[in-house]
Amino acid sequence: MQEEQGSLQQQTGTGGGEYLTFTLGSEEYGMDILKVQEIRGYDAVTHIANSPDFLKGVINLRGVIVPIVDMRIKFKLGQADYNEFTVVIIMNVVGRVVGMVVDSVSDVTTLAPEQIKPTPEFGSALDTKYITGLGTVNDQMLILVDIEQLMSSPEMQLMDMPA
């Protein structure tokens, strides 16, 4: 059901809905609220040998082992500091649980389809294929990310890819 919605949004690129907004460096992003499981502070992680630098490691989330990625490192956005304000968004994507480190979580915003505009090329540090559109809320631009596509992409190296 959730997946259907996701792909629908992705097809039309202008699907409205509720978005969780978060910041990475100076940029404001939005992701489908339905993908979010919980939000928690940054805790010590267990490092994984020979993994890319943006994969911080894994944590124990009530008995489930969850990988944590830091998007600031992945997209070279701002300083990757870890302090009491650093937030991890735990989300459910393609049947998996993944944690994403962001600078802060701001709000939950409802966007109508007409508030969402198509993405020009070179929109942000993210590859435009993972961006479903740009939203405008109170004169602020919101980059809407197709988090499912992004997290399951080969470049995130989060999943075993069929050879």
């Binding site: 040998a49 008995g63 989060l158």
Partner: protein, 713 residues
């Protein structure tokens, strides 16, 4: 919109189907097992009854779930079995084959329904006609030779033989609640009519006064006369889920007038039944004329036919329950969490003064014991005896050896050895490959064996045993053994790197190469060279190892060793810098603090000299790219590990603790990490990676190669 609602209102039969598939599979397996055990001896009543019950249950279930095609074969099979068990038809060994074949056909139909596999209708028709032929032929033979059968009345048999048609008289007294169960009697009457000429008379006298009349209660009984070519079984079939044994009375009306009187008396009895309590009805002696219905059949059916006609017929009061694997896994996970919590508590309490808080410490000790017991009990739920797998082989060996013209005896030892259910499912394929190989390649034809001074009958032994934390399964044969020369020859042909100086063990390892086969001809049994590599891969994926020992002319032994369970591991925690890792205890030989003089370098690679052996040193910090202060072997600890005869000394900072850990999958939310087999959660709630020693040694080889190259630069 309305359509949608209607759809959702329908009962989803699929989830019930699953239960039927499972049960049907079990019944088939049971049937096969009994049939195989019958091989030469005379079957006793109980065994035949068991086979009959299995066939009957499959038929019943298939009928309920609407798999009509499956009822066809089972029905005929049941008819034949019924006659065998009533001594109408003598039991022959040829029948075993026939029944086994029928079982296969049913299994095929089952697979068709369950997995959408292809069903060969001609096979179904073939077996049906074969079975039917048996019934017809044998009945005819015995019908003429009256003395051989004391159960079938001669009159009955001759009546059947003279004309195709027989006249049946039936009394049907349904139980009063039949309407409430939603049985449609008119349907039943139509079905009966389709068999032949039918006359129906309703017996209305038991209907009470209008004032007392309840339209939902059935007070009527019926009297049918049916002229048909069908036999009594077919008629009973129609009543199968409608009437219990004592509600239906069927008689053949013979030509002679003699036994008609008996039939009359039976009818009066049946009519009076409506008022009499059912216990009395059951106590009535079965009518001697109810053709071919021995008391045995009635008694057996009583068990299966529980009153609620549509209920499941559980014959044996089984003392086990069926629980979904997910539920068990959930339980195991939760207990795993409990163990972690307990460890956390123990750690937190370690700093508390034991004198002042003696009670707390005692309680925690108790908790530790209890959680450990609980964990063990929960883990044992998943354990299944390996006989589940072993039981598949007698049939295979029997069929294949007949096909190959070999004489083979299969022995199984340690059937009750228990193994995790997940492993049981995965081990079955590799074992099948191995047994096939034994049959096809290893064991020789009888004359070859005699010429070699061996017994004509070859032996395949399957042996399971528990050794420490592992389950060891041996597949032994007393065949020709592996042929070193031929394997080397094939290897050269295939362009593999070999030399004549290789040890036997190294040569045997070659047969695990993909596509390797020394068979001269590809048979439909094996020889295609897909096999041993699959065996190795499957076993490795379970954390198991395969070893081969072979002696020319004497035989071959393939040993598979598997971890006891996939969920729990005995391990030792070690630390490197900030990180902790778990070594599986089973792979550790010893751990040492090396003296500087025992450390040497070979070609830029470090080795340690332990008791006359040089073992490569693989620093964990290097392989895993970790930060640590201890980079020299003589300042840390070397953990000596061994897998598949390969040894390595892995450098870590310190050893921490020996512990039991619950294995968690990294792949569930992440992906496989090289050199590890999973992860676990330690007492402090942190995640630690579990090292896969075999993979670690491979990783170490790559790493030390690179490292050596870097140093040379």
């Amino acid at each position: 919109m309305t359509q949608e609602r209607m759809e959702s209102g329908e009962i989803d039969l699929n989830r019930f189907n699953q239960v039927f598939f499972e049960e049907c599979g079990e019944h088939l397996a049971e049937m096969e097992q009994i049939l195989l055990s019958l091989s030469d001896g005379k079957p006793d009543e109980e065994q035949l009854n068991a086979v009959f019950r299995a066939a009957h249950s499959i038929k019943g279930g298939a009928g309920i779930f609407g798999f009509q095609d499956m009822t066809v074969v089972t029905h005929i099979m049941e008819s034949l079995l019924d006659r065998v068990r009533n001594h109408e038809i003598p039991f022959t060994t040829a029948m075993i084959d026939l029944f086994l074949e029928a079982g296969d056909v049913i299994a095929m139909q089952l697979a068709g329904h369950r997995d959408g596999a292809e069903v060969r209708q001609e096979a179904v028709d073939q077996i049906s006609s074969k079975l039917r032929q048996y019934i017809d032929e044998k009945t005819a033979v015995i019908g003429t030779d009256v003395t051989e059968s004391d159960v079938t009345p001669a009159a009955n048999a001759t009546a059947e033989l003279q004309s195709g048609c027989r006249l049946f008289e039936m009394e049907f007294t349904p139980d009063p609640d039949i309407f409430k169960r939603g049985v449609r009697l008119e349907q039943l009457f139509l079905e009966l009519e389709s068999l032949g000429e039918l006359t129906i008379n309703a017996e209305m006298s038991p209907i009470p006064d209008f004032s007392m009349f309840d339209p939902e209660i059935c007070a009527t009984s019926w009297h049918f006369t049916l002229k048909t070519t069908a036999n009594e079984e077919d008629i009973r079939e129609i009543f199968e889920f409608v009437a219990d044994e004592d509600q239906l009375n069927i008689r053949v009306i013979p030509d002679q007038q003699g036994s008609d009187h008996h039939g009359d008396s039976a009818r009066t009895v049946a009519l009076s039944v409506t008022q009499a309590p059912p216990v009395q009805t059951a106590a009535l002696p079965p009518s001697g004329n109810a053709s071919g219905m021995s008391p045995g059949r009635r008694a057996a059916d009583k068990n299966e036919t529980a009153p609620g006609a549509f209920g499941r017929r559980g014959s044996e009061a089984d003392s086990s329950i069926r629980v979904g694997v997910t539920k068990v896994d959930q339980l195991i996970n939760q207990v795993g969490e409990l163990v972690i919590t307990q460890a956390m508590l123990a750690q937190a309490a370690a700093g508390v003064d034991p004198v002042q808080y003696e009670n707390l410490h005692r309680g925690l000790l108790q908790l530790e014991r209890n959680t450990r017991d609980l964990q063990q009990s929960v883990m044992s739920i998943r354990l299944v005896p390996i006989s589940v797998v072993f039981n598949r082989f007698p049939r295979m060996v029997r069929d294949l050896s007949a096909k190959l013209g070999k004489q083979v005896e299969l022995k199984t030892i340690g059937d009750s050895t228990e193994l995790d259910k997940g492993l049981i499912e995965k081990i079955s394929d590799p074992l099948t490959h191995l047994v096939r190989n034994c049959l096809d390649h290893a064991l020789e034809l009888p004359d070859v064996r005699i010429a070699a001074g061996k017994e004509a009958v070859g032996t395949i032994t399957l042996r399971a045993s528990q050794m420490g934390g592992r389950i060891v399964i041996d597949v032994l044969d007393d065949g020709a053994g592996l042929n070193r020369g031929r394997i080397l020859g094939k290897a050269v042909e295939r362009g593999l790197l070999v030399s004549d100086t290789m040890t036997d063990d190294e040569v045997w390892q070659l047969i695990f190469a993909p596509g390797f086969s020394t068979a001269d001809a590809v048979t439909d049994i094996s020889g295609r060279g897909v096999g041993m590599d699959v065996v190795l891969r499957n076993v490795n994926s379970m954390g198991g190892r395969v070893q081969i020992a072979s002696e020319s002319g004497k035989g071959t032994r393939v040993t598979i060793s598997l971890p006891l369970t996939l969920a729990i591991l005995e391990g030792i925690s070690v630390s490197v810098g900030e990180e902790k890792f778990i070594f599986p205890l089973s792979s550790i030989v010893e751990s040492i603090q090396p003296k500087p003089e025992s450390l040497k370098t070979v070609n830029g690679r470090q080795v340690v000299h332990v008791r006359g052996e040089y073992i490569a040193v693989l620093p964990l910090y290097g392989m895993f790219n970790l930060q640590t202060a201890i980079t020299e072997p003589d300042r840390g600890i070397l953990v000596l590990v061994e897998v598949e005869e390969e040894r390595a000394a892995i450098l870590v900072d310190t050893l921490l603790d020996e512990l039991q850990v619950v294995i968690k999958s990294l792949e569930e939310n992440y992906r496989k990490v090289e050199g590890t087999s999973g992860a676990t959660i330690l007492g402090d709630g942190k995640v630690a990676l579990i090292l896969d020693v075999a993979a670690l040694i491979d990783l170490g080889k790559k790493w030390s190669g690179k490292e050596a190259a870097r140093q040379i630069e």
